[in-house]
Every structure is written in structure tokens, then in C-alpha cells.
């Protein structure tokens, strides 16, 4: 670990923090339907949309209708994307003549993009046409992100409103998130990426003759426009197989820095939107504080572990850290930081191969996802995931002092706690259940590329990433098989909807409640005690649920590696 490394991390945190307030203010105005600087251009477009769609922008929805909208939108989006993938061979903009995507892979990919997971069973440059990348993947990158933001805003309204039967209109929220937030940010962002060297062309791949006379075919395409939204929308699905490690997706140290900032930007700003909408910005900062604590703890461990180096490299006398799977232009620190950022948020883009991280360095991304990606989290998904934990924390605090728990003047009662627990428990069911299944079935055991405990971690990471809708991978796992494509697809669906629907139910139930005035007995939820309680609850719930699985994977591998042991496949 070096001083320069810590300065890069400090600068990163400072830039993200500086964006929280201005972006939070802007987003609050957008979702309250107030005038913004972009309104003169966008308001007419928005109104035209509503007219054609037959929507009255002032008419809000009951939470059940909101859920209906969410499900319908996912369903149609899935059908469209599945069709594009299956038909890409017949559609235009396919200079590499990619064949139709196989049914199980198309199911997995469509599910994965609709649920904002962006798991890469597909190979990017080897599987997809430009049209599939643009019309298929890029559009779902926008819409799955917009949906996540919409659900978070609906939950915030549940806390902010009193005695209300509605939580906003899904159609209006999703339209505004796309038109006012995502598209205007992505256009300059994509151009910045091109300036840094990310290609943006519809031309076919390039045949070069190298200095030594060999032929090199260089895959290319409309990359920048997709990379911009894949980061900002915490989608993470790469244009290329190697994702953000590929020099065409992430050419410079500066592009890498901005990509990391853009992963956190909207998620962090949503805590400020939360504070503003409930009328007390300190509430948002307290939540961001709890997230920040968990984030820095993760960065510390991963940076330390990667700088120490892997057991194989150290055993052969190499200093300089674990460089396997990392790019020279990023080095150890920017690779370790990226790995923590991308799994804290539900992004899943990678600028280094997580599979080749040290045992402990790779364990932190795993833990980040197992905790439900509540550290900043996916756009929207992180905030609502965290608020689910807040409800549990408040409930635990209420049990300890024997009072009815309250949060922001809302009584937290049986219904909210039940829904919160449903949202929390569905994740381990898919993560651990899926892993258990794959480790006993031959079809599952055929997947891992590495032997020993690392192979187990590859499987655990896959189901964890899918259920948490992250999409990063221990890439050695051969996941493009019928077994993995279908079971991982299922895990993504459960991880998406069995959190979203309970969250919207909580939103509806909270919105209908009266807001009680604060009294001397009210537990203040903007101070250090609350932050500590929240962090404690997250770690206890996560630790109790996942420690045994971590012990079998990364912990055993770390101990074996420290003792100089290596594992050979087929032996």
C-alpha cells in the first residue's frame, strides 16, 4: 500500500461526496415534477409521450397498480430483448454475421439485462451484433436503471407522505428518470469516453498487420454509448468479453476514475433525495454514513490483500502485488478500488479479473453482494435495500427498549417488518440454495475452471452475483450451459422481484399511515448511534447467514495458500 494509492482513494471519495448534494437537488426536483433547467427542451417531449400513451401525469397509483406497472414493463422489455437476440442474424447492423443467440443464452441474457444484472454468459464481441448491443442491451441498460430509481423514489414517498393512498405514478417516474436524468448525463459522458479513446463506430472489425507480420483482427463498434450507461445505470454488462479491463472500454487512468465515480454518482445522490423528500437532509447523510463506513472497510481489506500479492506469486519471489488479471495502466490500487465499488453498487463491470484476485481480496466483492448491495448499491436498488435494513434495525432497537419502533414519524409494525424480512431472506435462499444445488449436480460441477476451494468460490460467486443482480463474475466458471443459464436466470428474477415487490408493499403501507410528531422518546435517526446500530444489524444478519459459505471458500483458500498449497485441476 502506498501514499499515492491512498490519495487516489481519498480523491475518489471526495469527488463522489461533492456530487451528492447538487445531483440530489436536481433529482428531487425531477421526481417532484418541478421545473428544471432542462424543462424547456424536455417538457414538450415528455408531454407528447404521455399524450400518446394515454397517461395523465397528475394521476398517481396505489402501490398494487405501481407493482403491476413494474411487472408489465419488465415482461414486455424481456420479450423485446429476447426477440432481438434470437433474430439478430436476420436484422441489420450485423457486420460480423453473428448467428442467432441460442435459446437458453438468450433467456439468460434477456433476464439479466431486464433485471439490471448484466451477467455475461454471452461473449460480447464474439456473440452479439451491433443492433443487439444498441437496441437490445443499451435500451435495457437505461430502462432497468430507470425502473430501479422509480421504485426507490416510490419508497421514499412512502416515508415522506402521510395518510395517502398513492405512491406516485410508475409511468411518470420511469419516463422522467430516463429523459431528465439518464439520457442528458450519458451524452456528454459518452463523448468524454470517446475523447479518452473508446471507439464509437458502426464500422466492421479491423484487420491489422502487426509489426511482426501477424494478422490481428480488432473488434470494434458503438462502444462508448453503451459504456456510459452501463456505468451510470450500474448495469455493468460489457460491450467486450473482458468488460472494463478491455482497453477499448476503459483506455486510460482518467476514464477509469470517471467510470468509478459514475457507478456511485446516482446511488449516493439518492440518499440526498431521500433526505430532502422526508424534510431532513441529515437523515440522508446518516444513511450515506453507514454506507461509507462499510465501503471504506471493504476498500481497506481488498487493497491490503491485493498489495500483499497472491500466494503463488509471493512463493516464487515476486514483489509488487497480485498483478495476475490486472492491467498496467490501473495498477493495484485502481483495480482493488474498482472491484469494491462495482460490487458495493450493483454494477458488475470489472476492470480486473476478480477470479484472479487473492482469496481475501476476492472475498470482499463477494461479501458486498451478499449483504444485498446496500453500500450505495444499484441505482435505486441500493437505497431501497438499505431502507429495508433500516426497518429491521429500528425494529431491533424497539425490541431492546420495549417501545413501538418508529422511523421518521412512521410506526414500523408487523406488516413492514414481515415484508422487510421477505426481501432480506430471498437473497440467501437463491445464493446459498443455488450454490448447494450446483455443488452436488454433475452439470454444476462441470462449471468451475479452478480446483479446490477456489472452484467452490467460483460457483458461490456466480449465484451471489445473479441473485444480487450484480453481474460481475469469477470468470473462469463456464456458465454458458443450459444448467447455469437457467438456474442463474431464475436467481436473477427472484433477486429482483422478491425485493422490489415487498419494498413497494412497504411503500404503500407507510404512505397510508399518519406521521407522528417527534417526542422526547423518539430515537434520533441521524446520529452516530443510529449509524452504528444500522451497520451492526447489516453485519450480523450478513455474517450469520453467509459466514459458513465464506469459510468453505475464500477463508480455506487463504489458509491453504498461506501454507504454500496449490490445487491442480483433474488431479
Amino acid at each position: 500500500m502506498t501514499l499515492n494509492g491512498w490519495m487516489q482513494i481519498a480523491l475518489y471519495c471526495a469527488v463522489v461526496l461533492a456530487l451528492v448534494k447538487p445531483l440530489g437537488l436536481y433529482m428531487t426536483r425531477v421526481f417532484n415534477g418541478e421545473r428544471t433547467p432542462l424543462s424547456p427542451i424536455l417538457a414538450p417531449v415528455e408531454r407528447a409521450f404521455y399524450r400518446v400513451a394515454g397517461i395523465d401525469a397528475r394521476q398517481e397509483q396505489h402501490w398494487l397498480a405501481y407493482v403491476g406497472g413494474v411487472i408489465l414493463f419488465h415482461l414486455l422489455g424481456f420479450a423485446l430483448l429476447y426477440a432481438i437476440l434470437r433474430l439478430q442474424a436476420l436484422l441489420p447492423l450485423n457486420p460480423a454475421d453473428q448467428a442467432a443467440v441460442a435459446p437458453d443464452l438468450a433467456f439468460n441474457t434477456a433476464t439479466s439485462f431486464v433485471t439490471n444484472t448484466n451477467w455475461q454468459s454471452y461473449g460480447g464481441e464474439t456473440t452479439l451484433s451491433y443492433l443487439a448491443q444498441m437496441l437490445g442491451l443499451t435500451h435495457q441498460n437505461f430502462l432497468s436503471a430507470a425502473t430501479g430509481i422509480a421504485v426507490a423514489v416510490a419508497l421514499i414517498r412512502g416515508f415522506a407522505r402521510a395518510s395517502s393512498g398513492t405512491i406516485g405514478s410508475f409511468w411518470v417516474d420511469v419516463t422522467r428518470a430516463t429523459l431528465y436524468l439518464l439520457v442528458p448525463l450519458c451524452i456528454p459522458y459518452a463523448l468524454f469516453l470517446v475523447w479518452q479513446g473508446v471507439p464509437q463506430t458502426l464500422g466492421a472489425s479491423i484487420d491489422a498487420t502487426t509489426l511482426e507480420g501477424a494478422k490481428q483482427t480488432i473488434a470494434i463498434g458503438p462502444v462508448a454509448s453503451q459504456v456510459a450507461i452501463k456505468m451510470l445505470g450500474t448495469n455493468g454488462g460489457g460491450f467486450f468479453n473482458a468488460n472494463a479491463a478491455h482497453p477499448f472500454e476503459n483506455p486510460t487512468a482518467l476514464s477509469n476514475f470517471v467510470q468509478m465515480v459514475s457507478i456511485f454518482a446516482i446511488g449516493a445522490a439518492l440518499t440526498n433525495v431521500f433526505g430532502r423528500m422526508v424534510g431532513d437532509e441529515r437523515q440522508g447523510w446518516a444513511i450515506l454514513g453507514a454506507m461509507g463506513f462499510l465501503f471504506l472497510a471493504g476498500v481497506l481489506v481488498t487493497y491490503w490483500a491485493e498489495a500483499q500479492g497472491g500466494s503463488v506469486l509471493n512463493g516464487l519471489g515476486f514483489a509488487g502485488g497480485n498483478f495476475e488479471g490486472k492491467e498496467v495502466r490501473f495498477g493495484i490500487v485502481a483495480s482493488a478500488l474498482f472491484a469494491v465499488v462495482t460490487t458495493a453498487a450493483s454494477c458488475g463491470a470489472v476492470n480486473a479479473m476478480h477470479d484472479s484476485f487473492t482469496a481475501l481480496g476476492g472475498m470482499i466483492p463477494l461479501i458486498n453482494m451478499q449483504l444485498g448491495e446496500v453500500v450505495i448499491g444499484g441505482v435505486g436498488a441500493g437505497l431501497y435495500g438499505m431502507l429495508v435494513f433500516v426497518i429491521v434495525a429500528i425494529f431491533v432497537a424497539g425490541l431492546m427498549v420495549g417501545r413501538t419502533p418508529e422511523y421518521l414519524g412512521k410506526k414500523i409494525e408487523a406488516r413492514e417488518v414481515k415484508m422487510a424480512m421477505l426481501g432480506i431472506l430471498c437473497l440467501p435462499l437463491m445464493m446459498l440454495g443455488g450454490t448447494a444445488l450446483a455443488t452436488v449436480l454433475p452439470a454444476g460441477l462441470a462449471g468451475p475452471a479452478n480446483a479446490g476451494p477456489h472452484g467452490f468460490t467460483e460457483i458461490l460467486y456466480a449465484y451471489t452475483s445473479a441473485a444480487a443482480n450484480n453481474g460481475s463474475a469469477f470468470g473462469g466458471l463456464t456458465a454458458n450451459t443450459l444448467f447455469y443459464n437457467s438456474t442463474l436466470g431464475l436467481a436473477m428474477l427472484v433477486g429482483r422481484f422478491f425485493v422490489k415487490i415487498p419494498v413497494l408493499a412497504i411503500a404503500g403501507s407507510l404512505a397510508a399511515k399518519k406521521t407522528l410528531p417527534a417526542s422526547a422518546g423518539t430515537f434520533p435517526t441521524h446520529g452516530g448511534l443510529f449509524i452504528g446500530l444500522l451497520v451492526g444489524v447489516i453485519l450480523i444478519v450478513g455474517g450469520l447467514t453467509f459466514f459458513p459459505s465464506l469459510a468453505l471458500g475464500p477463508v480455506v483458500e487463504h489458509l491453504a495458500g498461506s501454507a504454500g498449497q496449490t490445487f491442480a485441476t483433474g488431479g
Binding site: 414493463f73 461473449g123 451524452i187 490481428q216 458503438p222 456510459a228 468479453n241 495498477g331 484476485f357
Partner: protein
């Protein structure tokens, strides 16, 4: 739910048209106008032929060139398309090795590379980036240490003074962005092009 079918269909269609067609095509148009060379892949031409992209690494094996990092990319086996064969720096199928930290295969590969490098180059010790596969398999850079490590070998093969090559490496070394971000690095293709400019083979 049926009353929501119309907004769902209409919004999906319109938002898809904006985000899936209008947005990428607008960015393509703007990028082509403002940064035409970079939008097209930062290609390098020499004597009218494209020799590669300044951002994409390529394989160098001969003694007269500086070498890049190990690359774990593969390609379909020409004899049997269901299998793959190693194809370093295959820029149409990016990939890392995905070997874990306790992998015996990793230990074997690193040991083999280290011994080969030590046999070719008199300098010591072997820099770690020359024995580790990059994440993309297309890393265009090596560390300045890794370039300096290869100077004696290249100098001997080209019959040049080592001091001259060290100056070349220093001139081709790119520092941290803003003095802070990323790591110092040397672009191997740019270095080798400069090398050819120095003393044509």
C-alpha cells in the same frame, strides 16, 4: 393491469427508440465529427498499412522487439471448431486467464515464464507484470521497469547502445495522469515503432 397495457407498450416503444437508436446514433455522429480518429479505434498506420491500434496490445516474440505481457486470449481451433487454442493478443476475443491465487496451473506458468525471461535477459529481478496475464489479454502497456529490463536483450539484437535505448524508454514512459491517477507505463507498440524509427532492421 390491462389498463396499463397501453402506457407500457407505448412507453417501451418510445423510450427504446430514444435510448436504443437515437442516443447511440447521435453519439456516433457527434463522436465521428469531433474525434474521428479515436471513434474509429485509434488506429496506427505505417507506409499506408494499418499496423494496429495504439490502445490494443499485440504479440511480440522476436528478440529485436520489446515484449508485452503474457496474454490468455484464445481462438477457435482451426482443426476442431468446438475447441479453443491459445492465441495471444486475439483482439476479437478479449479475456484474462481467470486462474485463481492457489492455482497449480498459475504456479507452473509463472515459473516457466520467469525462467524463460531470466534466460533471455541478463537483468534481474524479473518484473511481476511480465509474468502475469493481463485482465483483457490485450494490455497495451508494460511498466517502465519491465521495459528497462528488456533493454540489454534488444540492444544486443539490434546492435545499439543500451544507453540510447534507455533514453528511448524514458521518452516513451507516460507518468500518472495529473501526477496522481493510475500507474506509470510504457506503450509497447509505440515503443517498438519508435525503435524501428531509430534503427530500421
Amino acid at each position: 393491469m390491462l389498463t396499463q397495457l397501453r402506457p407500457a407498450l407505448v412507453l417501451l416503444t418510445m423510450l427504446t427508440a430514444i435510448t436504443g437508436l437515437a442516443y447511440p446514433l447521435a453519439v456516433t455522429g457527434l463522436a465521428g465529427l469531433i474525434f474521428p480518429a479515436r471513434a474509429a479505434g485509434s488506429l496506427i498506420a505505417r507506409d499506408g498499412h494499418v499496423v494496429g491500434s495504439s490502445l490494443i496490445g499485440q504479440s511480440f516474440a522476436g528478440a529485436t522487439y520489446f515484449h508485452g505481457r503474457p496474454s490468455a486470449t484464445s481462438a477457435a481451433d482451426p482443426a476442431d471448431p468446438t475447441k479453443t487454442v491459445p492465441a495471444p493478443y486475439n483482439a476479437s476475443n478479449s479475456s484474462g486467464s481467470n486462474l485463481g491465487p492457489t492455482s497449480a496451473a498459475l504456479a507452473e506458468r509463472v515459473k516457466g515464464d520467469r525462467d524463460a525471461l531470466a534466460a533471455e535477459n541478463p537483468a534481474q529481478p524479473v518484473p511481476v507484470d511480465l509474468v502475469t496475464a493481463s485482465g483483457s489479454g490485450l494490455d497495451p502497456d508494460i511498466s517502465p521497469e519491465a521495459a528497462l529490463f528488456q533493454v540489454p536483450r534488444v540492444a544486443k539484437a539490434r546492435n545499439l547502445l543500451e544507453e540510447r535505448l534507455r533514453q528511448l524508454v524514458a521518452a516513451q514512459t507516460e507518468g500518472r495522469t495529473l501526477g496522481l491517477l493510475g500507474e506509470p507505463r510504457v506503450n509497447v507498440l509505440a515503443l517498438n515503432l519508435a525503435l524501428d524509427g531509430l534503427a530500421p532492421r
